[in-house]
């Protein structure tokens, strides 16, 4: 039996006290333990930012990569060995800013990894600049007259790209978040949970109480996540009330399931075959 304790790690946690990331970290450990996935059987891939450090703070195999590139590392690892359980920890700047093109294409591929975006609507590690998800008008040390651009809507974008598992969580509701992570990890294909998470140091607008006053659980409204049309409508809600939970779910074949050569074995499980290669050389005209 796997327990949360198995995931404990002595490495010093470097987040600010009260950081929204703690809720995500504990929900991750709990859901993995409940899924009976042991630390030696999970690979966490992350980018740069406070979210990127997540894998250091629990016992697990990890690839803490570059800003924006986590999904590209995860894609390569999954193609090489699709038996790996891969979770990607990224942030709003990492995933929707620097890694925007990779995000688009990871969704399009439907590669079987779970993406957790720690979305705090601000750049924390670089101390308080606007992120792609900052609301219009938000004033920061760099955007002194307020953010001009429209905020990036990850939920609508993921839906538009054909993502088969789209959810939104809130780090202040770890019971729900744990449930979402478990569903996302079990989903065969690309799953994204955009997780609202307050930055206690640099985002003085989107605070715990701000989120708490707006979020509600779609399950409480008997919402059924099987209609793309409804999902799109839900994905546009933000200013008054913010829906959380599974917004859209659809079963489809994942990327590696559609690659013929991977039907029988993971790429890594094949054996080097010199005889076959000699045939290839012989047949070169």
């Amino acid at each position: 039996m796997v327990t949360v304790k198995d995931y404990e790690c002595s490495f010093e946690n470097k987040w600010c006290s009260g950081c929204g990331n703690f809720g995500i970290l504990s929900a991750m450990k709990e859901s993995l333990a409940e899924l009976e996935i042991s630390p030696d059987n999970i690979l966490l891939v992350s980018g740069i930012g406070q979210a990127g450090k997540t894998p250091h703070f629990m016992k697990c195999n990890m690839f803490h990569s570059l800003h924006g590139r986590a999904l590209t590392i995860a894609t390569g690892a999954k193609l090489a060995n699709h038996n790996l359980n891969i979770i990607v920890n990224s942030g709003d700047g990492d995933c929707y800013g620097e890694g925007g093109n990779h995000f688009i294409n990871a969704v399009r591929r439907n590669i079987d990894v779970t993406l957790l975006v720690h979305n705090n609507q601000i750049y924390g590690l670089t101390k308080g600049q606007a992120s792609p998800t900052s609301d219009q008008g938000m004033k920061t040390n760099l955007q002194q007259n307020g953010v001009i651009s429209e905020p990036f809507n990850p939920v609508s974008t993921a839906l538009a790209l054909g993502c088969g598992f789209v959810a939104r969580g809130f780090s202040g509701n770890t019971t729900q978040l744990k449930k979402l992570i478990k569903e996302a990890v079990n989903y065969r294909g690309f799953s994204i949970i955009d997780i609202l998470q307050p930055c206690v140091s640099f985002n003085k607008i989107n605070t715990y109480s701000w989120y708490k006053s707006k979020v509600y659980d779609l399950e409480d409204e008997n919402y059924s996540p099987d209609s793309l049309e409804n999902a799109f409508k839900i994905s546009r809600l933000w200013n008054e009330k913010i829906p959380t939970g599974i917004i859209y779910k659809e079963e489809k074949l994942s990327y590696t399931e559609k690659i013929k050569v991977l039907n029988r074995h993971a790429l890594i499980e094949n054996n080097y075959n010199p005889e076959k290669l000699k045939e290839v050389i012989l047949n070169i005209a």
Binding site: F11, K14, P39, D40, N41, I42, L43, V45, I48, K53, P55, H56, K59, C60, N61, M62, F63, H64, S65, L66, R69, T72, I73, A74, T75, G76, A77, K78, L79, A80, N81, N83, L84, N85, N101, H102, I104, N105, I259, V261, L262, H265, L267, I268, N270, Y272, N273, P274, K276, L277, K278, E279, V280, I281, I284, A285
Partner: protein, 566 residues
């Protein structure tokens, strides 16, 4: 050498020049002749001016010739640009209405003959028939090659092409001109191959199973070859969203335990430099092909250069060990690709192979026997059961030679942590000053082992007081130039580098001491010359530099060397 002739087919993009050239090369090869073919084209799909040039001999030929015996001009520009390259007895064949009064121009009615064959599209095959007739090749050789090329397109198309070949052949048999080349020395131990295919085969013979890339000339052909082979061998070629993704895809795949490759050209390599650094600090093996073309920025997209040497040796921020190789032929490309995979995995460092448009796209005749497939692949990956205590495993454990045991993630009880941040032995972020020094030194100490793996440069007549020095694809042009120069009474030798970084300065210092050195390079600043200066302290050399996007011709090297020696 009893004969050494060259044929050039020029015309617009989209006229099928490459198809004509490839078929001709196959026929000459099946006649037992040695061939060498270059492919010169513009960055456009239709129009402009392109050419395909084949050199044919009864002895190995491995560089293009500056002289043309038969010039097939499918447009007027071909005559304008290349008429001056004709030998004294050379002829021009043309189907256009732009005759000059010169009597070496022969009209070939391709349109009329293709109508007779039943399809306009057969005009290329007619052109092939004409050239084969004028070189004395039997028509049956062409039929065999056509069968191979058109079999999949159906019986009707095949028969129309047979007819077209005969029409062209018969038409040209009326000409007085005939080179009467021998056609009865077929030797099935030889094949025609370009650098791209040789690299692809080299990757397969290294047990590489994954490639990710973003399309870019002249690097795409490596991936096209791998993709074709993946029908027979478990291999995935992934087209990434950009070069950044491509290099990170292969880092991820290699981290998970599958040998991986990407190929790009200079501009794409610019985007990959971030990932190159990640491979370096995470100590993840990767092999990157940089098929050079002239830059900067878009430069000349379809042309050739040797101008990224200094860039790939230094690229990405800070310093770290890496391997850099530059093969001089398809044989070397095949072997060096295997060496790159082996060493990249052994030392857990990135390996970069510099090729270029000329090597990637040119066809060379090689002995099939040089493409030997190893029976086993030496793996440097450590399994959980080999570890004394997997629970205590540290990915970056400090060792004497800098190489730590590499275990794969999720392959056992050992926890594998890697990061692009500076880290401690266990793979956790560390900002400790002492640890930083230890880790930089750990990575750098590998250079001591790495330099021992470098092969010394190939030399010819190294006792001579005058030595040409080159690297990569210009090898055979330099070799032929030295033969010509020696024949003309100039005592000269050459040094040719394939293994460039870590720079084997021990092997080089003695070779170049007290010599007159002439750097022959495809760039403006003599990048290898500068590297030799930096590494050996040798300060004086002359240069033969070419950076117009075209490959070296032996004759032009000779001319410039003679000028230097005057």
């Amino acid at each position: 050498m009893t004969f050494d002739i060259s044929i050039k087919i020029g015309g617009e993009a989209g006229q099928g020049i490459q198809t004509v050239g490839n078929i001709l090369t196959s026929v000459f090869q099946s006649a037992g002749l040695y061939t060498m073919a270059i492919n010169d084209f513009e960055s456009r799909v239709r129009g402009g001016h392109s050419f395909f040039q084949i050199r044919i001999s009864d002895k190995p030929v491995n560089a293009p010739s500056h002289k043309i015996d038969i010039l097939m001009a499918l447009n007027q520009l071909t005559c304008k640009y290349h008429e001056k390259e004709l030998t004294k007895d050379g002829i021009i064949l043309s189907d256009a209405r732009f005759f000059s009064e010169k009597d070496n121009i022969h009209f070939i009615p391709l349109t009329e003959l293709s109508a007779k064959a039943g399809d306009k599209i057969t005009s290329n095959t007619i052109a092939v028939g004409i050239i084969l007739s004028l070189t004395g090749m039997p028509v049956r050789l062409l039929e065999d090659v056509l069968k191979f090329s058109f079999q999949k397109k159906g019986k009707d198309i095949l028969e129309k092409n047979f007819k077209a070949a005969e029409l062209g052949y018969d038409f040209a048999s009326k000409f007085k001109y005939n080179l009467n080349l021998p056609a009865d020395n077929f030797d099935n131990s030889r094949i025609n191959i370009n650098g791209s295919k040789a690299i692809a085969l080299g990757a397969l013979a290294s047990d590489c199973r994954f490639a990710s890339f973003y399309p870019m000339s002249p690097a795409t052909s490596v991936m096209k070859n791998l993709s074709a082979f993946s029908k027979d061998i478990p291999f995935i070629v992934e087209q990434a969203e950009d070069e950044i993704a491509a290099v990170n895809n292969i880092i991820g795949a290699s981290f998970a335990g599958v040998r991986s490759i990407t190929s790009t050209s200079g501009g794409g390599f610019c985007l990959m430099t971030e990932g190159l650094g990640l491979a370096a600090i995470t100590e993840t093996p990767v092999v990157i092909i940089n098929a050079q073309r002239p830059g900067p920025a878009t430069g000349l997209p379809t042309r050739t250069a040797q101008a990224d040497l200094q860039f790939v040796i230094k690229s990405s921020q800070d310093d770290f060990p890496r391997f850099v190789f530059a093969p001089g032929s398809p044989e070397e490309a095949f072997k060096i690709t295997q060496k790159a995979f082996y060493l990249s995995e052994k030392y857990q460092v990135p390996a970069i192979i510099l090729t270029d448009q000329y090597l990637n796209d040119s066809l060379f005749t090689i002995e099939k026997g040089v493409l030997t497939i190893p029976e086993n692949i030496k793996s440097f990956i450590i399994e959980d059961k080999e570890l004394e205590n997997p629970e205590l495993y540290k990915r970056y454990k400090l060792t004497k030679n800098g190489i730590s045991q590499r275990v794969l993630p999720c392959s056992g009880k050992a926890i594998v942590r890697v990061t692009g941040n500076e880290h401690d032995e266990s793979g956790h972020i560390s900002e400790d000053a002492e640890n930083r020094n230890k880790m930089v030194n750990k990575r750098f100490v590998k250079m001591e082992g790495m330099i021992q793996e470098m092969s010394s440069p190939e030399t010819f007549n190294k006792e001579s007081d005058i030595l040409m020095i080159g690297w990569g694809s210009s090898k055979y042009a330099i070799k032929e130039a030295s033969d010509i120069l020696i024949e003309s009474g100039i005592d000269i030798g050459y040094i040719h580098f394939t293994d460039l970084w870590p720079f084997p300065f021990d092997m080089v210092t003695d070779l170049i001491k007290n010599k007159k050195l002439i750097m022959v390079e495809g760039n403006r600043s003599s990048q290898l010359g500068l590297l030799i200066m930096e590494q050996t302290g040798e300060r004086f050399f002359e240069t033969v530099l070419k950076y117009n996007g075209r490959p070296f011709y032996p004759n032009e090297i000779c001319k410039q060397v003679k000028k230097i020696l005057e």
